[in-house]
């Protein structure tokens, strides 16, 4: 590991000042950053430990819930208000990582975690995200776990966060503060497609910090769920995942929100495809039309085309009331 200066920030002002120095990185839980520093993928000259800043509060207001950037993943997942009003958030967190990691990892750290693409995580291979211009090994290499949506010739690495997928379905707002003051960005605009610059992953500017994430309260949010499909039952990244919520009134879809993980280079949501469902009866055909619209833009490879079927299956399972009932029946009769 490259040597670095360690600075513990006592105040937000001090943290911003220190992060303004070149080649500085913010350290919170460290579960992603310390790992990548050991691998030589990250090698900052300065680490600014923001772990003791007072940014961990979870506060329910009249119209929204605010979650501090340093709230631990465990604290958020077990928060009674989160469980009740934003169940997909709690479920998404509990579907990810392990208990030890969730105790350490912060909200902002979860949103900023880097991809699990093995070519990114090893300095032995060319990778445009790690070393711009060096090439993408996944494009011609093993890419069964890579993205099918939003890929470019430069990068097809999946964003690994479950939490970000839930936040995207629930219209979260990411609050930032930097040298030029505070601002906020809808999470739908927080992540950037790789295009020609996969090394730039978010709109976060150098020296900026996430301070909180704000979730608007709604009946739709309270009806949200998270389904994750993966290669083993626990402690594994998503092959495909879906955060969804649907409100049906008089037999027709009134509101719907669907975000997907494991499929895209960024957490994925297609509001144009969602519009296909509004006003329609929910059933096999309308859900297929949604899937067709959603996946029309996909560019699968021979090895990861299975993700399209996986996504369709997951979407039907989450949205189709008949399928959901079948699933429950099947589970109930299994000799577990």
């Amino acid at each position: 590991m490259r040597a670095f200066d360690y600075i513990r920030a006592e105040t937000l002002e001090q943290a911003l000042l220190e992060l303004g120095c070149p080649d500085s990185r913010a350290l919170a839980g460290g579960t992603s950053l310390v790992d990548l520093m050991k691998l030589g993928v990250e090698a900052p000259a300065r680490l600014v430990d923001i772990g003791s800043l007072p940014l961990a509060a979870i506060t329910l207001g009249q119209s929204a819930l605010s979650i501090g950037a340093l709230a631990s993943n465990s604290e958020i997942a077990s928060n009674e208000t989160v469980e009740r009003l934003f169940p997909a958030v709690s479920q998404a967190i509990l579907a990810g990582a392990s208990g030890q990691i969730r105790n350490m990892a912060s909200l902002a750290g979860n949103l900023m975690q880097r991809t699990r693409c093995p070519y990114f995580r090893s300095t032995d291979w060319p990778c445009n995200k790690r070393q711009p211009g060096s090439g993408c090994t996944a494009a011609s290499g093993s890419n069964a776990h890579h993205a099918v949506l939003g890929v470019s010739a430069s990068c097809m690495a999946v964003n690994p966060s479950d939490l970000a997928v839930a936040l995207l379905a629930l219209d979260a707002e990411v609050h930032l503060v930097g040298p030029s003051g505070p601002r906020s960005v809808p999470i739908s605009q927080f992540y950037l497609l790789p295009a020609e610059t996969p090394e730039i992953e978010t709109v976060l500017r150098p020296g900026e910090l996430i301070t909180q994430v704000v979730l608007p309260r709604s009946n739709l949010a309270a009806a949200s769920t998270y389904l994750k499909l993966r290669g083993r039952a626990s402690y594994e990244f998503a092959s495909a995942s879906i955060a969804s919520a649907i409100l049906v009134e008089g037999g027709a879809v009134r509101e719907v929100a669907i975000a997907l993980g494991g499929l895209g280079v960024v957490p994925w949501r297609d509001r144009t495809a969602e519009a296909e469902l509004i006003g329609k009866a929910i059933g096999r055909q309308s859900i297929e039309r949604y899937c067709d619209a959603l996946l029309a833009a996909a560019s699968p490879t021979k090895d990861n085309a299975y993700k399209l079927d996986l996504a369709r299956g997951a979407i039907h399972r989450c949205l189709d009331p008949d399928r959901a009932r079948d699933d429950v029946t099947a589970r109930g009769s299994s000799p577990e």
Partner: protein, 161 residues
Amino acid sequence: MPDPRSPVRLSIAVNGSRMEAEVDPRRTLLDFLREDCALTGPKKGCDHGQCGACTVLLDGKRILSCLKLAISAADRSVTTIEGVEREGGLHPIQQAFLDHDALQCGYCTPGQIMSALEAIADPELRTRPQIQEFMSGNICRCGAYNGIVDAIMDVKANASL
């Protein structure tokens, strides 16, 4: 600006004793415990947060000591397997691991027990599938998983903690 390689002062409570040390900022809590404190219970399995063998409690919550810089645990309290015994005897969960053959080679066991401590303290965990999910961050390559769940269920059912 200080020399990046110069050690930084660390004050930390380890198994109830206050430790004062000078550490390289790169030192992980795991290396600090094993090499500076001679507490070799926490194991270095993968050193990348994937196996759980390095699990310790930080302020009472289980964490992975391999992904925690020692300096970032300053002024906090760490418990390792060496600090688990009760009045010189085994903790009930340690005895239950023996009773239920919850280990073969024993390498993952200190980490398993540190996780199990959180499991037995959590009243929400009642069923075997819940405990299996809860313990999924601790890998056992001998495959003693059923015994580990047995041990935790036993303590939850019988021990007065």
